[in-house]
């Protein structure tokens, strides 16, 4: 890049197209943010005076709590299943991913059904000990703390997933070396493994936190006012879109801080591990006591994150499924899977395009545009839905107006209220997932590998086919599956943007649940979980295999001489 001038690079058509595509994806968010310029003085003062401090406090505490929770669960389990051997380790490798299939609002509904004051657990306690309300203390599930636990239980797999693949990529020799240099197990974890995995862990954490920030269903149900519920309330309760947009801007500053932290952490530590990994992992052979402890930690995590809610849903579903499963139910299933698959496919293509564009033409405008395109992940679905609705309706009405005045025919709405609008909203919302995954996969392909390939006479296309595709396969699959699962769970945008008579499982589950018919909602909810399990299992199997496969492939790929760390 140094032998080309910055100017020619900036106006490179490819760079331009990357900026355009990225801008299109960030357009809905930008549209909503432009509402900031609507006058909202009076309502804004009201908010600042009454509820804003609460929104800030709750959102910050929620993020900190979820950060601690997902890091604790995710890193611990990733470390145990990669570096240690204990009974059940192979099964836990993939079982630990299962909670990813459960939407946060559904786990919240099920735990509330069990644990609130009128639920079976507390009722049993009261009846057994003849207690009344003031005789005992029981943690309130519908609270900020409860929300932190719920989010941590279903979002830790993001940290687990990325931390695990980072641990897998670490050379066992690095740990061996640290041990021979006198590190204990703990200090070699904290001084070697953890720092080297930090970029991946933080990437996983930022995904978990962005999802937390954007959540509406869970915090609404728990009565925990956050920015997201505040935006909703300001927009539709106070009827002030300007003030709602201003709240969204404050929310986005949180996101920028997150993203900046993630960038910063990557910049500080871009480790490229080079070297063959010739022996399987599981360096630490855990014996009886420790092995049981490791086993219990993993079991408890999966039990609370997956088993308990899944069993509760199944119990409800057994009661109601006969009524709930009819012909229309299979249509729901088909709609949901089709939509999720198509969206995931597009998201991966887009991510590849943007990530490669950024890699080849990493100029400032390109980098900023790509960064902005991933911003939507932390923006509540309803905000994105409105951001999509506006430009589409404008475009449709403009085309219609033009046709009416020139040809006296009306085109009506061409894009609004179609699946195109809905799928764009999904891209805006979930591109960050595929982008992050593809970028981190691409980061593994070191500049040295490219240079080596080129010096051996590979053309760019050949380099991509023979080196990049095999090395990226795992990341692409991960990216597609993450988007797939998230689209299945998405609600607010789906609800309002979908075409006539188009339902999904999430819509059905939500409608029944908000009508306070949890038992009837369980069949649809369970189907989301079941359908989400398939990709999660594929994902985990591919992770299990990837280490072995990559070892083989790397051996055949043109490789430079082993170099230690770079960057």
């Amino acid at each position: 890049m140094s032998n080309r001038s910055a100017l020619t690079d900036q106006i490179h058509p490819r760079a331009l197209s990357v900026v355009l595509v990225a801008t299109l994806v960030s357009l809905p968010v930008i549209v909503v943010l432009s509402f900031v310029f609507h006058p909202a003085g009076e309502v804004w003062r009201h908010l600042a005076h009454t509820v804003l401090p609460l929104y800030v406090r709750n959102s910050v505490v929620l993020m900190l709590g979820v950060a601690v929770g997902t890091l604790g669960l995710g890193v611990t389990t990733a470390w145990l299943t990669t570096m240690c051997t204990f009974p059940g380790r192979r099964a836990f490798e993939w079982v630990l991913l299962l909670p990813l299939a459960i939407p946060a609002y559904i786990i919240a509904y099920t735990y509330t059904g069990m644990l609130d004051f009128a639920g079976p657990v507390q009722t049993f306690l009261r009846e057994s000990f003849t207690w009344s309300r003031d005789d005992y203390w029981f943690p309130e599930i519908r609270s900020l703390g409860g929300a932190i636990v719920m989010f941590s239980l279903v979002l830790y797999p993001y940290v687990y997933l990325l931390a695990r693949s980072a641990f897998l990529e670490q050379s066992p020799y690095a740990i061996d070396v640290s041990r021979t240099l006198g590190c204990s197990t703990w200090s070699s974890f904290f001084r070697v493994s953890l720092p080297a995995a930090r970029p991946a862990i933080i990437a996983g954490l930022s995904l978990a936190l962005m999802e937390t920030l954007a959540d509406f269903g869970t915090v609404q149900y728990f009565g925990v006012p956050t920015f997201t519920t505040g935006i909703f309330r300001t927009w539709f309760g106070l009827g002030d879109s300007g003030a709602a947009a201003q709240l969204a801007v404050v929310l986005l500053t949180f996101v920028f801080i997150l993203l900046a932290a993630e960038r910063w952490s990557r910049k500080r530590a871009s480790f490229y591990h080079v070297g063959n990994r010739s022996r399987p992992l599981g360096i630490y052979q855990l014996t009886s006591g420790k092995a049981w402890l490791a086993f219990s930690v993993c079991t408890v995590t999966v039990a609370f994150g997956f088993l308990v809610p899944a069993v509760q849903l199944s119990v409800w579903a057994l009661k109601t499924a006969a009524e709930m499963v009819d012909a229309s139910f299979f249509k729901l299933l088909a709609n949901t899977l089709g939509l999720a698959a198509a969206t995931a496919f597009i998201a991966v293509l887009l991510a590849l395009y943007l990530a490669y564009g950024r890699r080849a033409h990493g100029t400032v405008p390109v980098r900023i545009a790509v960064r902005l395109a991933g911003m939507g992940y932390a923006v509540p679905g309803i905000v994105i839905a409105l951001g999509v609705m506006l430009p589409f309706a404008w475009l449709d009405n403009a085309v219609d107006g033009w046709l009416r005045s020139h040809f006296n025919v009306s085109s009506g709405l061409l894009l609004s209220g179609t699946l195109v609008a809905l799928m764009l909203a999904y891209q805006v919302r979930f591109l960050a997932l595929s982008l992050q995954t593809v970028e981190s996969g691409l980061a593994k392909i070191t500049p040295v590998i490219d240079e080596a390939g080129r010096s051996l006479g590979c053309k760019a296309s050949e380099l991509a086919r023979r080196v990049h595709v095999p090395m990226l396969r795992g990341s692409l699959l991960t990216a597609a599956l993450l988007v797939f699962v998230d689209v299945m769970k998405e609600l607010p945008a789906t609800l309002v943007l979908r075409p006539f008579d188009f339902n999904t499982l999430a819509v059905r589950a939500y409608e029944l649940a908000t009508d306070e018919r949890l038992e009837d909602a369980s069949t649809a909810a369970l189907s989301i979980v079941a359908a989400g399990l398939v990709p999660v299992i594929v994902l985990s199997l591919s992770i299990a295999r990837s280490r072995y496969r990559e070892t083989l492939e790397i051996r055949y790929a043109p490789l430079p001489n082993p170099v230690g760390q770079q960057g």
């Binding site: 004051f117 149900y221 309760g237 009306s410 309002v496 908000t514």
Partner: protein
């Protein structure tokens, strides 16, 4: 090239145009969820041959969609579960007036827009419900009296983000004025047994289980618990509760409607009016009553048995447009009083 584009667009237009003009359809944006509207729509199709197309979502977002789609919106009918939202839609200019002797005769004046922009289709009441044994009915009188310190820590009610609560407070603003309502809210919020969370049924369950002594909820939630499987926790909870009709010596208990209006852009205006008229027939009204335990808006249509057992009452006759015009003020007052 430009010719080609124009040709393509024209063809597309014709295809899409004819699809949209297909005879005998009516398109509905509904904030009433599918399970509670689709069966009636199916009956309508069966009777008239008019096909229905439905999108359900929150009233706020749907209204935004209607506004943005403008004159090309495919929607004919906008259905909500709250009069305040209908009023908001009227203010936003997305509804058009309808003159129909059938509708005027079936829907009493307080439950429809004076200019015919929207019509109530079913009534919901939001009285006080109390735990039998822990509260005597003579301790209760009005919503306003619930601010009394004797109820400290004894009241369950859901979040102020909920439209039913916003409308209840809007009706109190209409009756008592802004200052008195704020004072009342401050006392009322102090009496909450817990931070508001969950839905209406959760409040009822909590009252039955002893977490609080009084809950405020729409009657059909209690009715549904009554009709739950005998012996189930919900059924037992319902039996531990009693309904109290407040403000019977004054303006009456707070009621709200689920209702609908024909949109300004409606491409199938006549079909939409036919659907509205169908929804106030005795048959459809009886469905609201029997299936969802709501009160029929049309006088003379019998209530469900479960609802009859909750007793007759005097309803607040405030024109429900007031719920809409007072909505944002109500939300602000609730914020100020610290009702989360």
């Amino acid at each position: 090239m430009p010719r080609l584009i124009i040709f393509g667009l024209t063809v597309l237009t014709l295809i899409l145009g004819t699809a949209a003009q297909a005879n005998s359809v009516v398109n509905i944006y509904s904030a009433r969820n599918e399970a509670l509207i689709k069966p009636l729509l199916d009956k309508f199709t069966e009777k008239t041959g008019i096909q229905t197309h439905l999108v359900t979502a929150g009233a706020g977002p749907l209204l935004e969609r209607l506004r943005r789609e403008g004159r090309n919106s495919p929607a004919d009918l906008f259905i909500t579960v709250d009069a305040g939202r209908l009023h908001e839609a009227k203010e936003a200019g997305v509804l058009q007036p309808v003159e129909s002797a059938t509708l005027d005769a079936a829907v009493p004046a307080p439950y429809r827009d004076p200019q015919g922009l929207w019509f109530g289709l079913s009534l919901r009441a939001r009285p006080i419900m109390y735990a039998r044994g822990r509260v005597q009915s003579d301790e209760l009188s009005t919503y306003e009296a619930l601010a009394d310190p004797r109820w400290r820590g004894r009241i369950c009610i859901r979040s102020s983000s909920n439209i039913y609560n916003q409308s209840l407070v809007a009706s109190i603003v209409a009756a008592d004025g802004e200052t008195a309502t704020l004072d009342w809210l401050k006392g009322f919020v102090k009496n909450f047994a817990r931070k508001p969370a969950g839905g209406d049924r959760d409040q009822l369950r909590a009252a039955a289980a002893g977490e609080c002594d009084i809950a405020i909820a729409n009657t059909y939630y209690l009715a549904r618990m009554h009709t739950a499987e005998p012996g189930s926790p919900d059924h037992q909870a319902a039996k531990a509760l009693e309904v109290f009709w407040p403000n019977q010596n004054g303006r009456g208990a707070h009621v709200n409607v689920s209702g609908a209006g024909v949109t300004t852009a409606a491409p199938n205006r006549d079909n939409a009016i036919r659907l509205l008229e169908f929804l106030v027939t005795d048959e459809a009204q009886a469905w609201y009553a029997e299936v969802n335990n709501e009160y029929p808006v049309k006088p003379g249509v019998p209530w469900s048995e479960t609802v009859r057992e909750m007793g007759r009452f005097k309803a607040d006759e405030l024109n429900l447009s007031a719920l809409g015009s007072n909505n944002s003020l109500a939300v602000k007052l609730m914020d100020e009083a610290g009702w989360q």
